[in-house]
Every structure is written in C-alpha cells, then in structure tokens.
Subunit: 424 residues, 2 copies
C-alpha cells in the first residue's frame, strides 16, 4: 500500500457497521445516530456492509443463473449490496443535517489486485479522501468492494468490509478503527454455543488472529493482519449498545504485560474437511507441485502434514481445506495425480477444528497435557493435531466439536477472570 | 456528443431489453438466447434495465429512509438495479459460451451532465467500446445510468435505458437499435385499454415522439429525439416473439410517401394536472420569471396558454405538469407569487390528455371537426385544447380519458388498414 503515507487530518474516526447493523431502515436510522454523534467531534469514515441477507439473496440469484457463476460477474453483482446500504445511510444522515457523502470503492479509489471474489487491497487514494473532507464531515464508504487499475469491480471475500475499514484507517492514519457488530465484543469462546463464555476487554491481535482464522467469526483474519501490520487499534463493539466499550484489540507488538494469560479462548470451525494424498514418491518438488496447483485455484490449505514411509520411499500428505473449497481441491488434485505419481486422493468431510489460543501458550507443557486428557477422558477421538506458537488445534468429528470446546473452556477455567494456570 | 465520430466496426447490433424482459432468471435465459443468435452474425451491445420491479422496490426503500431522498444518493441507490441485471445476464451468456462482458456506465464512460435523477448524456467513450470488441463479442451495458466527469453516478430518468441504447447506437454508428419489450410494437392506441387498436409496421419518429410524450409508454421521448437527431433507426419488438418484426420507427427526415396517413394514433396520458396562475399583471418578463422558476426545479410544463383580460390589464397563465411534479410546482409558484403580483395559484389534479397524432394532420380541417363533434356528441367535457403541426391534444377528466380515446379511435377508423380521410 504505497500511498498509505499521504498527509491529512490525523483525528479521523473510522467505523464499520456490519450487515445486521444495517439490516432494516430502522437500524440504519440507529446507525446514523451513532455516526452523527461521532461527527460532532471529528471527521468520520463509515464503512458499511450490505443490508442483512442481501448478499445471500444475490448469491442465490447468481446460482439460479449459473451453476458456477463467472467470478468477474459475481463481483459485479455482489458489489451492488453495499452500494444500496451506503446510499440509504447517506440519505438518512443528510436528513439529520450531517454533511455526508456516499462513495463506492471506485470513487474512493480502493485499488485491488486483479483477482475476483477474494481480491487483496493494494492501494487507497487517501488524497481523494482528504479532499472530500474539505467539504464533507462523514464519508460513507461501501465495504467489501474494490477496483482494479483497469476499472474492473472486485470483492474482497468473506468479511471483506472489515478489511476495507482497517485499510481505510491505515490509509488516513486513524488512531482507532471501531468495528460495530451485533455482539458485545470478543469472547473466550462462542457465547451462543457454550455457556460461561466470557467477554474479553482486551486481547492481542495475534490471539484474535488465531481465533478468527479458526472460525471465531467476529473479525475477518485479513483485517486483523492488516491492523497489526499498520498498527491500527481495532475495537469490536455492539451497535445496539454503543455505550459499551467492547473489546480492544491491541496491535502494539509485544502487548501489555498485564494482559498476559496462558489461554485467551477456544475457537471452533465446523466447516472443515481433510484431504489426504496417499503414497506420493518421496522426491523433492512434489509438495511444491501440490501446493502450487492449489494456490493457482486460490485455495487455502491448513494443518499441512507429511509422513514418510521410509521402507517404501513414499510419502503421504494431509491437510485441511474449507468446506467450500473441497470440490475444487479434489478436482485439482485428481488432475495432477498422475503427474506426481500419487496413488490416491482421499477426503474426510466430517472435520471440525477446535483450537486453544493464547499468547502465553508456548512452552507450557501442562496445556497440551490438560487438553488431551480432557478430550480423552470424554472419549472424543482426535483426527489431527497441529500446534504453533500461539495455538493448539485438534481436528474432531463435527458432531463432537461443540462438546469438545465446552469441555476445554471449562477445563481451562476461561469463564473466570483468572483462568487456569499450571498450578491449578 | 462530441465523441460520436470515432471509427470502429460499422455492423454492430444494439439491442435493449426492458425490465419485464429480464424480470426472472428464466427470462434472462431467454434474452441470452436472442443475444447469442445475434452474436453469431455480428458484434452486439445489449443494454438492459433493472429486473422487473427492482427499481420500484429500491424507490420504496429510499422513501422509507427519507421523505424526500437526496437525489445524488437516490441515483447511487437506483443504479444498482441495472448492475444486478447486467451481471446475471452476462453469467448466463458466458455459460452459453458467448464472449460477453458486463459494463457499468462508469466503465463504458457514459458521461452525463451534473444533474441527478434525470441527467442527459453528453458523451460516450466509443473508443473504449471498440477496444472491448477486440476481445468480446457481446457487451452487456447497464441502462439508465451515467457518470459525471468527476465520477458521480447519475441516472437518466424514466425510460432512461432506451436513451442509453440509442446513445450507444449513435456513438458506434449502429445501423439499427432494437428495443425489445413486452409488447408487439407501436399501436394506433393502447391495445390493453381500447379494443381494435392496430399494430403499426412503420411510423415516423415525429409521430412516435408525439405519442411518447403524450403517454404512449412504449418508448421514452428522449430516446426517440436522440434517434431522430442521429438518424438511428429504432425498432420496437416483442422479447417473447423475437421472430416478429415489430414496428420500425423511421428517422429519415420526410419519411416514406407510402407511409402517409392523416392520423397514426391516439395517445392517452392520465397522470396530468393543470395549474393556473390567476391575475398576473400584463407586463413583459412575467412569463419568463414563471418558466425560469419551474425550469430551475427541472419541471416540464406543457400546453402553456395565456389569456389576457384587456380591460383590467391582467393575464392568466395555465399549463399542465405531470402528477409527480404538481407538489413542487405549487411550492415553487407560491414562493414567487408575491414577486410577480399574482392573485392566486389554482391546480386541477383531475386531468388527462387525449391526443390525436399524425404526420398528415396539419391543414386538414375535417380532423378537428370530427374530433370535437365526436366528443361533444358523447357529452365529454373538454377542459383544455392545444394543437401543433402533428397533434391535437384535449384535456378531459381522468374518468373520461379512455372512453374519449376509444371514441376517437373508432371515429377515425384507426383499427383498419386504411383509416378515415376527409371523404369518409
């Protein structure tokens, strides 16, 4: 993002409202009220998503039109959802006497790479934004969408509006970016599914990133990454309780010593599948071919593992992909199967990831011990295990995922202010 | 339109499909079939409207958000309707193997003046179109929308997609522009309301222009004007009977001698009001002030008449406006009433225009005679009368409008191949 260095007012407030926050005209009125209050103190960029189920409705239309809708046209279609929201919100703001202007990604100049349905932002024309702020107090920007340098409409993929908001905050050097949503903030685990889940007043960006990647759907991982990269402080808060402070995501590297907890949360992602490529020759370059073929299809792999059968000189490679990518993954691997001399490609669609996430998880052997003994005692079978500096993930059957999460949330005492430590 | 002189392929087919033609995915499939056939023979520009009632739905949303929605934001909102259509149609075309690309007005470069909700096109980047045709066979263009030179989205007003199609046809010098709709073509009068209405195989642009202005809703008058100005031959035809030729609108000045008819049709516009400004001083400049005040609000007046009361030196001015403009008209006139010393402003909202239209109407005294005697015999009260070279319009009560039209259609024998002449 080479233009993130323009100069302009440095007290701009960047706020983002998700689909449930603008689901109806009444809710849009409520959002306008929040924005009006902010605008009394400083310039404001408000990023909005499509109203309620608009995107789902448009996707349904697309699937009626085509079994596999052309991605460029899908972006052309889906970007209308946010355009509707910004226009309506701006009408309401103007009626309240706020100097507001709605802007599409094209008008702002939110440039992305030439990829459809999941483009990444490469540049934002912050100079245009500063120019508009000479005439307007609130800029209402369509989230989720972008534009290529030759004028094609792109979209940023799932949760893309968060990314738009963070990128704008970075681009105008806003001190904080407030993500208004329909929950109170970030919890130790999903409060809708696991009783005892506790609201965190602060969390590090690393932890929330792991949780987001692992299925905690409050924030899109890319937006958290971007926030960390540009030191944008994110705050997740409830549109319907604007007086509550929500959860602050601290992007300062290292984080606050006071904040230190072994485990911050348990995340569940139920829409996972595992894919195994059996009996590949143990030769250099094979893994590269496989990952490249999938990367060409823009498929993200996770929990990549490889085991060697040294006696016969063949490998097996196993990894997880999202449900939505399974079909394309199988198709892609089948196409290169003979080229890499693989024996067969197997898929297990009954996978869910359950992950323990914590900045202080590393080097604490009591944590995996408590994790595995808890699941073992309750006869929950573990299909795969992976760990990194900040998380331990186990793959279990989808039917067992919520139970496993609940058991771990209890075992690690995450519902209390002072969770379990080695001594407990 | 200064760029209407670019060079490019001269056999481009320009077709336009209205909202009813793309109301459902099934209909979009059907439209794709028509376009595919055209594209087998030549390059094609397909202009589409929003699906079915999408625009009405969006207007409803806007009215829920604001009593008088900001016009810039309304254009931002309404332009999404056409964007949805072009994306879906293009998905279907691509599935059929057609090299197609959807384009917004911004992408095409359909530049308009800086007016919202009823902008006029000032320029089209035909060079961009010719460039796209090097890679694509069909360009699916969003109708109704435009862009200002500083990137604001505008809309062209009611029936604006017709205007988009004609402007594109003029810009690429297409030999013909086919307007696909849900009727067979242009009739002598509204076939849904008056039995005996007859389909015309040809009509002059002057006649259709008068009929369009007078409420025959097949074509937007601006599109006909533009077609006449750039000698674009228009053809109105039925999407659901693509094998039928419909009605050709001959824009050649003078027209075909064989085409000569005294009267081509009867048009009805039921959404009219008359407004009278009573007792204005008989001074130069007053009419100018009134018309300028209304022009500033972009309100079109029609049937402007003035009568003088010579004894007292005061005038009355009366004219008609569309229903939708009545409120704003009254407000505007009330505001300048004291400035022009007018006594009062009166409105009659129960007005409908019934018009006889025909290229051969001029200088044939039997025509007004038959018109007035027919209405008189049937006790239909005439509120206003106006005539021009190609039409005679009477204003009657809305309740009587269809009856009047039916009586005139019969009296002038428009349902027959050889309608009434002076001898009959």
């Amino acid at each position: 993002m080479n233009q993130f260095t323009e100069d302009g007012p440095n007290d701009i407030s960047v706020v983002k409202f998700g689909g449930t926050s603008v689901k109806t005209i009444a809710r849009i009125q409520h959002v306008a009220e929040i924005i009006e209050k902010i605008a009394e103190e400083r310039k404001c960029i408000a990023v909005v998503s499509a109203m309620g189920d608009t995107t789902d409705y448009l996707v349904k239309l697309a699937k009626m039109a085509s079994d596999s809708p052309d991605k460029r046209e899908l972006d052309m279609l889906l970007s209308t959802g946010e355009q509707i929201s910004i226009a309506l919100l701006c009408m309401v703001l103007k009626d309240r006497g706020v100097k507001a202007r709605s802007l599409t990604a094209n008008q702002v100049g939110i440039f992305t790479e030439h990829v459809h349905t999941r483009a990444r932002i490469v540049d934002i024309q912050s100079k245009r934004i500063f120019n508009w702020f000479e005439k307007f107090d609130v800029l209402v920007v369509a989230g989720f969408q972008g534009i290529t340098d030759d004028g094609d409409i792109t979209t940023l993929g799932r949760g893309g509006s968060d990314t738009t908001a963070v990128a704008l905050a970075a681009s105008v050097k806003a001190p904080e970016c407030d993500i208004y949503t329909d929950v109170d903030g970030i919890y130790t685990t999903d409060p809708n599914k696991i009783p005892g889940a506790r609201l965190l007043s602060r969390i590090t960006s690393g932890e929330v990133l792991e949780m987001a990647r692992l299925g905690a759907q409050v924030l899109h991982p890319r937006s958290v990454e971007l926030a960390a990269q540009y030191n944008v402080k994110l705050r997740v808060r409830n549109t319907f309780k604007p007086e509550h402070k929500g959860t602050l995501i601290d992007t300062t590297s290292g984080g606050d010593m006071e904040l230190f907890r072994a485990i911050s949360g348990v995340a569940v992602d139920e829409d996972q599948c595992s894919v195994a490529i059996m009996d590949v020759p143990d030769q250099p370059g094979i893994a590269g071919k496989i990952t490249q073929a999938l990367a060409d299809q823009n498929i993200s792999m996770d929990m990549i593992m490889q085991s060697v059968h040294p006696t016969v000189g063949v490998n097996s490679m196993i990894f997880t992909v999202a449900d939505a990518d399974l079909e394309q993954t199988i198709k892609t691997l089948d196409a290169i199967k003979s080229q890499i001399n693989a024996k067969e490609v197997l898929a297990d669609p009954d996978c869910a990831k359950v992950s323990l996430v914590g900045q202080g998880l590393c080097g604490q052997p009591w944590i995996p011990a408590l994790l595995f003994s808890t699941l073992g005692k309750n006869s929950i079978n573990i299909k795969m295990i992976a760990s990194s500096e900040m998380k331990i993930t186990v793959v279990v059957s989808r039917l067992k995922a919520q139970t496993a999460a609940k058991l771990l949330h209890d075992a690690f005492e995450l519902g209390t202010e002072k969770p379990a430590t080695a001594k407990s």
